[in-house]
């Protein structure tokens, strides 16, 4: 037993060491360079800055007429809107898809799973958005993100549903609950663990999405945070201090979300992706 304990301690040490090299070094690298002066940052070394330039962050805020503030607002709306819709439609969809196994649901199921694999057709999507007068609006962008994330979300919910005993609903039905009530009062509360997983994974994906806003949400007043970073790549191609300061600023919200939901990610995955 003593030998085993030593082994685990060794594991701890090795694990921390490996994690430090492979995963922590890049972050330290970003952070120290975000605090350097331009020329020093462009040497791309991981040494501590000679002087710390916190004002880099302020400059990032000021750049392009405080564009990053607008961008945070847009990205925030986009993430909150999409994730809320995804939770509602995804949980309802996953629920019936798992419980009903008739041919209609079979077709729906394969269609949705196809969406997991197939890349989106971009130009025709713009065409559709225009016909609906949704092009260039946050609303339209939200709906596109929802459409793109529905397959994965439903997969998670559907997988999780299989771990919920069917007797619960049958009991509810016997008691005379309506279908809607069965879902909202019995099922949905039980979906809490997987809902957390859905929130964090979708929020990260949508917040970090760069390609789709590039297509569907043009215009500087519509910029999202990833687009500001992309603009920065052009403007500050040799000012790594500004680039990394921007990177750090736009990573913070996801980091906070992660710290908040961290513990629940695994719980949701257990049933969602593993049993799905």
């Amino acid at each position: 037993m003593k030998r085993k304990k030593k082994l685990y301690l060794l594991g701890d040490i090795l694990g921390i060491l490996a994690a430090a090299i492979v995963f922590i070094v890049p972050f330290v690298f970003m952070l120290v360079n975000a605090l350097k002066e331009r020329r020093e940052a462009n040497l791309l070394s991981i040494g501590l800055p000679k002087e710390t330039h916190w004002e880099n962050f302020i400059e990032v805020f000021k750049a392009n007429d405080y564009q990053i503030l607008t961008a945070f607002k847009n990205s925030g709306l986009l993430v909150v809107g999409s994730v809320l819709i995804l939770i509602v439609v995804g949980s309802m969809g996953g629920y019936v898809l798992q419980r009903r196994k008739d041919s209609v649901m079979g077709i729906m199921n394969s269609l949705i799973m196809a969406g997991l694999m197939v890349p989106a057709a971009i130009l025709p999507t713009i065409w559709v958005l225009q016909k609906l007068h949704l092009y260039k609006t946050i609303g339209g962008m939200i709906l596109v993100e929802v459409a793109l994330q529905i397959p994965f979300t439903i997969m998670l919910f559907r997988g999780f549903m299989s771990s919920i005993p069917i007797e619960l609903e049958e009991a509810g039905y016997m008691d005379g609950c309506s279908r809607w009530k069965i879902f909202t009062t019995i099922i949905f509360p039980l979906l809490k663990p997987v809902t957390s997983t859905v929130i964090i994974l979708n929020a990260v994906t949508i917040f970090n999405d760069f390609t789709n806003p590039l297509y569907f949400l043009p215009g500087s007043e519509n910029a999202t945070v990833q687009l500001t970073l992309y603009n920065f790549m052009g403007q500050y191609s040799s000012s790594y201090n500004m680039l990394f300061a921007d990177v750090i600023l736009i990573t913070v919200p996801m980091l906070l979300l992660f710290i908040f939901f961290n513990k629940r990610i695994v719980d949701g995955m257990v049933a969602g992706a593993v049993k799905g």
């Binding site: 297509y215 052009g234 040799s238």
Partner: protein
């Protein structure tokens, strides 16, 4: 890059200043503007790679004089930028003004559909005729030149040339001999900045003068689908020259960016750089008079007697046909071509070559390389526009093809064939019958 940061902050400061001063200044404006109109605001879509200091100087003047304020929207350069321009045009969402290449690339935008035809305006007569044809499709004219024209040639380090007793080469072989000398002495003979893949095209595109001298009808035949790059010896030669450069590049040329290149040249750390002469402005902004340690010569041909330079025409400002402010757009364009505006522009940014406006002289304080080297090619009449300003078709994948050839992955022949294929796609899209 410093100049860009400065420009951005100036821009930010200006815009915030304007916004803050808006309430009080708008009534003042209507008094001062020539015909008593309120300030009109136009939007301009511009890429982040161009210098905007000159434009801003003009825009500030325009607000004062004609009551038109221009709000800048930025987009990335390169393929993503093209994409944004094309998508926004196609979806009817273009800004009032749009900055975009002239020549074949303009042609690929299908300008008749989207841009304001200015051929009926008086001010068009001020535009240089060659340039005018580069911003025209048929009888319709669409754009006014954004900045001065540039040379597409070789920037070289006079310091290194003196150190090793080199002379400006008149033929391609002499040029390679110079490179060999530099290489033997462990200097970087040719600076490659292929991380910005557009720079990889310069040895190839900059050879246009030589191509047009040895095969004057190539452009025409090429547009008609009769001549191909791979089967026309004079055209293939341009690719061969690019292939020749492969062995002379700096070690990390595939990771070196255009901005890095400016630093390297300014510090005399490389002998030659195939680039547009706009690099001189960038170096000037960073290093001041050190820019005069640099000279420019043309991509040499095969005969010493006929040595001429390739001109790269500036991008143009185009008006959005579907804007509801077309009057203001025209007025702004007219102003942009006025002597007053040109003075304001060249006061802020020195020219990288002659202007594309008739009867407008270059200011005499230009950099040595522009005032002496480039000017000489003009006085002797030995210059020609790059092929994309004469021909209708430029392949969209030119940067990648050149990058591939320049890094020694393909032969000149293979690259030429690839480029022919690439042009064919463009021709199909344009509805040409090849």
């Amino acid at each position: 890059m410093k100049k860009k940061i400065v420009a951005v902050f100036l821009c930010a400061a200006m815009v915030t200043g304007m916004a803050a001063g808006c309430g009080s200044s708008s009534d003042k404006k209507s008094e001062t503007s020539a015909d008593g109109n309120e300030t009109t605001e136009l939007t301009l879509l511009i890429d982040t790679d161009v210098t905007i200091a000159g434009f801003e100087a003009v825009a500030a003047k325009a607000e004062e004089e004609i009551g038109i304020k221009v709000k800048i929207e930025t987009r990335p350069g390169g393929a993503d930028g093209d994409n944004i321009v094309k998508t926004r045009l196609a979806s009817g969402d273009m800004a009032d003004l749009c900055l975009y290449n002239s020549g074949a690339l303009l042609n690929a935008l299908n300008p008749e559909e989207y841009f304001l035809d200015i051929s009926g305006e008086d001010f068009v007569s001020r535009i240089d005729d060659n340039y005018k044809s580069a911003v025209s499709v048929g009888d319709k004219v669409f754009g006014v030149p954004y900045q001065s024209s540039q040379a597409e040639g070789i920037v070289y380090s006079k310091t290194l040339y003196e150190k090793y007793n080199l002379e400006v080469p008149k033929t391609w072989d002499e040029f390679l001999a110079n490179c060999d000398v530099l290489k033997e002495n462990k200097e970087t003979a040719i600076l490659g900045t292929f991380a910005d893949s557009w720079t990889a095209q310069v040895p190839f595109l900059g050879d246009a003068y030589n191509l047009q001298q040895s095969d004057p009808e190539f452009a025409e035949k090429f547009d008609a689908g009769e001549a191909k790059w791979a089967t026309t010896p004079a055209a293939l030669r341009s690719f061969e020259k690019l292939a020749d450069t492969t062995q002379y590049y700096n070690e990390d040329y595939l990771a070196t960016t255009y901005d890095d290149g400016c630093d390297i040249m300014a510090n005399g750390e490389a002998g030659h750089w195939f680039i547009l002469s706009q690099a001189l402005s960038n170096i000037y902004e960073l290093y001041g008079d050190q820019v005069n340690d640099l000279g420019v010569f043309a991509v040499p041909g095969d005969s010493a007697d006929d040595n001429g330079i390739t001109l790269w025409y500036p991008a143009a400002l185009y008006g959005n046909k579907n804007s509801d402010k077309t009057d203001a757009i025209l007025k702004f364009m007219e102003f942009y071509l006025s002597d007053e505006a040109l003075d304001a522009y060249s006061e802020a940014v020195l020219p990288d070559g002659p202007y594309c406006v008739k009867d407008y002289e270059m200011p005499d304080n230009a950099y040595d390389a522009v005032a002496n080297d480039i000017q000489a090619y003009f006085e002797s009449g030995k210059n020609a526009p790059a092929l994309e300003y004469i021909s209708q078709v430029k392949g969209a994948d030119c940067p990648a093809i050149c990058q591939e050839l320049g890094s020694g992955q393909t032969t000149a022949q293979e690259a030429a064939q690839k480029y022919d294929k690439d042009c064919e796609k463009q021709a199909t899209q344009l509805g040409l019958n090849w």
